[in-house]
Symmetry: C2
Subunit: 285 residues, 2 copies
């Protein structure tokens, strides 16, 4: 166990997405690490939950007083036949229940890309709309907000065919026109920093639709499409500016650090990773 530096009041506003140290620690170790470092929140992934057990994880997280800023993840709606789409819907219903057990603030939706062999991205987008529509009533009944995460266009084919804030907001407007809070966005700076309309779209989303705020940085150069995200401050994203826009729009939730980094942060001592996240969170936002 590592000595932990003096806490800063801002630290309780940081949440740790467990992917950030997934190569080094189990979920139990991550929960313990968050508590030792004074981090205020956590966002677990379902594969780690399945290993730990949802009820056990929920109890541990509650005992540590951690806010669950999101469960990663639902979504992946498109499939090449109706049975596949139904399996995705069923899986999302289970994810909603797990998120509720955890007391999560939202279920994050990585909506899915093209079905195998398809070149029909408009069709995939329709499947996403229909999929979210099919689970929204259950999410409402569970009191579990669904957070559509627009993913960077470089993931459009394989991971998510919702690639801009504008697209995600159109879906929200169509499926939840009353702005009830049941459907909104997870804003991840890595995916949206380049968007020329970002400030306007954050303002349009407003408090009711800004369900999560994920931070990391875009490295120059970026050496891998998936696992070369940067620590806050090491790249070119204007984190302070985007944070200002989120705050102006009414977002006052935690900031969830999520870094996939095969060559750097996944190879470091995880206590060092957490200490660095806290330090950069204090200095970059």
């Amino acid at each position: 166990m590592t000595e932990v530096a003096t806490a800063h009041p801002e630290d309780r506003l940081l949440s740790l997405n467990t992917a950030t140290v997934r190569e080094q620690w189990t979920l139990e170790q991550i929960i313990d690490g968050c508590q030792r470092h004074g981090i205020g929140g956590i966002a677990p992934w379902r594969d780690q939950l399945a290993i730990c057990g949802v009820d056990k994880a929920a109890a541990m997280i509650r005992d540590c007083g951690l806010t669950v800023t999101g469960l990663c993840r639902g979504g992946m709606f498109p499939a090449d036949d109706a049975a596949g789409r139904q399996r995705a819907i069923d899986d999302n219903l289970r994810a909603i229940d797990d998120a509720r057990t955890l007391g999560a603030e939202c279920l994050v939706l990585v909506v899915g890309g093209l079905p195998p062999g398809s070149r029909d991205i408009a069709g995939a987008r329709t499947m996403v709309r229909d999929g979210i529509g099919a689970v929204l009533a259950h999410a409402r009944a569970a009191g579990m907000p669904l957070a559509i995460e627009p993913l960077h266009p470089m993931y459009a084919a394989e991971r998510a065919c919702i690639n801009t804030m504008a697209q995600a907001l159109e879906l929200c407007e169509e499926l939840d026109p009353g702005r009830t809070g049941a459907l909104g966005l997870a804003v991840d700076v890595y995916h949206v920093w380049w968007d020329p309309d970002l400030e306007a779209r954050i303002a349009e989303a407003g408090r009711e639709r800004l369900l999560a705020f994920h931070i990391c940085d875009w490295l120059v150069p970026t050496r891998d499409l998936l696992v070369d995200r940067g620590m806050m401050g090491d790249g070119i994203i204007d984190l302070a500016g985007i944070h200002r826009w989120m705050t102006a729009a009414g977002y006052d939730g935690l900031r969830e650090v999520e870094i996939f980094s095969a060559e750097t942060w996944w190879k470091r001592d995880p206590d060092e990773v957490l200490a660095t996240c806290l330090d950069r969170h204090r200095r970059c936002l």
Copy 2:
């Protein structure tokens, strides 16, 4: 020299961006290859032109009856001081002159990303607007259309901060509101295929602003951000659909194949690469 299969009338509508076989052939060899294969056009890069000599290249291309669908490339306007921005402008003026010597249909602009150390993408976009504004009169006088190429958002930091058709069209509207043909777009399927508004933006651009059409494919998975583009038909882009939208908007120019492919096409016999481009061009559009 390789035996070349029987030509197809469509072949004269294919243009070869020389980057597609840049690892195997000199510019002279590429010009000769295009002629032997019955390819109708060529789009050379300035580094190859510098080696060959612009006047010599222009004469060879003219003698072969090839259409020059574009010169690659001008742009790269943002810089961290005024002197750097002026150097970029001067370089673009020379590129316009070279494009004229070649009889090119346009000068393609890869507009540039963030200056070193900058996190100010809005500022970079302003520099791009100002840079294009500073060279447009010279381009008009030379009769050389400037084709802004919106690059995929994954290149926003390092190569081009104009990342959507909508952004490029806004620049055209601001700098050439009369739709004179002096300023328009190079539409590269690799960069824009994911755009949910692509059909509408192609229609909005119209014949006057659709200056070039670049084709290749997006591979699943994509293993490298820069040099893992696919041959038409090997990926997930709906080439036939995008081609239909281009045609409906009035575009009747050549289709320029541009494939950066370190592990596949740059390692193949270049005659095989050209034959494959021709075959896929006949079948995929």
